[in-house]
């Protein structure tokens, strides 16, 4: 059977050319252009997608390596009519200006909230064990792989804080 990648619950055959990154596969082979190419070197986070439940840089992995994997992109998180909680919060808090980094920011933050829920520590955590206390410092550290050249960071953190607080209440 041919290798397939499942993206937002639809299965697609993997590309023939092994050079195709997961990012280029999403954008150019199956037309899901929500995921963005920024640096193409894993430094900016614009290409962040969620693979088998964890966030990764789709530019630094080959599509051919993902046979059987399940990928969630920004298109799989919500729609204009039914945005996810984070998508709505980014709108309400002006968590962007140009919007180019936003799909990566939101995919990253979506997975990050799961990591906090699982009490995975970060470099900013005072303790390695026990519950993680959500704070601006924690969010900034955990989101350091997503750059925003417009500098909308304050509003991005506010949007994530709001959703994180909701999830804990």
């Amino acid at each position: 059977m041919a290798d397939t990648i499942t993206v937002n619950e639809t299965a697609y055959p993997t590309p023939d050319d092994p050079r195709v990154s997961l990012l280029d596969f999403l954008r150019q082979h199956i037309g899901l252009t929500g995921t963005k190419k920024g640096c193409d070197h894993g430094q900016c986070g614009a290409c962040t997608v969620i693979v088998n439940g964890v966030r990764i840089n789709s530019c630094l992995t080959l599509a051919a390596m993902h046979d059987g994997d399940s990928v969630t992109t920004i298109e799989g998180l919500g729609t204009p009519d039914e945005p996810s909680a984070l998508q709505r919060a980014f709108l309400e808090h002006d968590g962007f200006q140009c919007g180019y980094c936003t799909p990566g920011q939101i995919c990253s933050a979506t997975a990050m909230l799961e990591e906090i829920a699982a009490d995975w520590p970060s470099d900013a955590s005072e303790n390695l064990e026990g519950r993680i206390a959500i704070s601006g410092e924690e969010i900034r550290e955990r989101m350091s792989g997503n750059l925003c050249r417009c500098g909308a960071y304050a509003n991005i953190v506010a949007a994530i804080e709001e959703v994180a607080a909701g999830g804990r209440s």
């Binding site: 966030r55 992995t61 051919a64 390596m65 520590p121 955590s125 390695l128 900034r140």
Partner: protein, 327 residues
């Protein structure tokens, strides 16, 4: 990226066969290798994907230690309950490196094998004895802020960039390796090489050898600290880092396992530094003596001259903090 053939290695033995030649490289997480392939620093004819060969487990060893599968991700390692409780210096070191997205993909074996971030190595228009033997070293009289102050040669002043291996060095971990001649294990402290006249040789892996795991000895307790000094507070390589496992008994040092990142072509472990502390009560003079020993042969290259006093101060800060925490 240059064209290459992609093959999913069907077995560890086959992966060894494939990578025994120069033209095939093993790929695990790929976060460093694919980056270097895009830059054409690496131009393999074939990639052998080893991701589905197993050895991704993290499991207890018979003597109370912990075996970290080479294909376990950095994240899986850093958040593992036993790593967090028994080897906190390792969790801290991993969490201080890269970003969550990269740590989620990067593997333990790949982390050990990652290449330097020297600007001359990663730019194919620049001279680099590591990338192109005999072409010269651009960094020695060039942009050298990130570069080494210990163990350098006139061929190469690059640093090993990782954090994880610095903690593994302090912990005295062992690298398990499989190849066509069988299996062997190498202490992490001996795994990486100094540049010497062969800066392209970065570790002891022979062609066809693949890391299968990293074994941590039984936990030693103590106060464990990983202190990383960098130019911004997240997602930056270490200028200087210190991994420390410190214990005081009756007010005197009874354990002082120390390793340093950002200083050399390998995680730096000089047993004399810890030994000079043992049996002594903490004092500023003692910490200075430890720094004197560590930096005895340190040499700056202009832009990185600051690393010498910075290392002294970082060691001082870590020992002061450890002493207070342990008291």
């Amino acid at each position: 990226m240059r064209p290459f053939q992609y093959t999913r290695a069907p077995s560890l033995a086959e992966a060894s066969n494939m990578t025994a030649g120069k033209d095939t490289l093993a790929i695990a997480g790929g976060t460093n290798l694919l980056d270097l392939m895009k830059l054409q620093v690496e131009t393999p004819d074939q990639l052998a994907d080893i991701n589905r060969l197993g050895f991704a487990e993290i499991e207890d060893t018979d003597n109370g230690g912990l075996r970290l599968g080479a294909l376990a991700t950095n994240t899986e390692t850093a958040v593992h309950p036993r790593v967090r409780s028994d080897y906190p210096v390792l969790s801290r070191a991993i969490l201080a490196g890269a970003t969550q997205q990269l740590r989620n993909k990067a593997t333990n074996g790949g982390n050990l094998c990652q290449r330097t971030r020297c600007f001359y190595f990663t730019n194919i228009d620049q001279p680099c004895n590591k990338r192109e033997p005999g072409s010269g070293c651009g960094a020695i009289d060039g942009i050298a802020k990130l570069h080494a102050i210990l163990g350098t040669s006139d061929q190469c002043i690059a640093t090993y960039p990782g954090d994880m291996a610095v903690a593994l060095s302090a912990l005295g971990a062992t690298v398990h390796i499989s190849g066509d001649k069988g299996e062997r294990s190498v202490p992490v402290r001996d795994f990486h090489c100094l540049p010497g006249d062969t800066p392209w040789i970065e570790n002891v892996l022979e062609p066809g050898e693949i890391i299968t795991g990293i074994v941590l000895p039984a936990p030693v307790g103590g106060t464990q600290i990983y202190r990383k000094v960098r130019e911004r507070s997240s997602y930056a390589f270490a200028l200087v880092s210190v991994a420390a496992i410190i214990e005081l008994t009756d007010g005197k040092f009874s354990r002082a396992d120390l390793a340093f990142g950002g200083l050399a072509h390998k995680p730096w472990h000089d047993p004399r530094v810890g030994e000079c502390l043992l049996g002594q009560p903490p004092s500023d003079a003692l910490f200075d003596k430890a720094a004197d020993i560590l930096l005895e042969n340190a040499r700056g290259f202009g832009e990185n001259d600051f690393k010498i006093p910075l290392t002294r101060r970082t060691l001082h800060a870590v020992l002061s903090q450890a002493t207070e925490d342990a008291a």
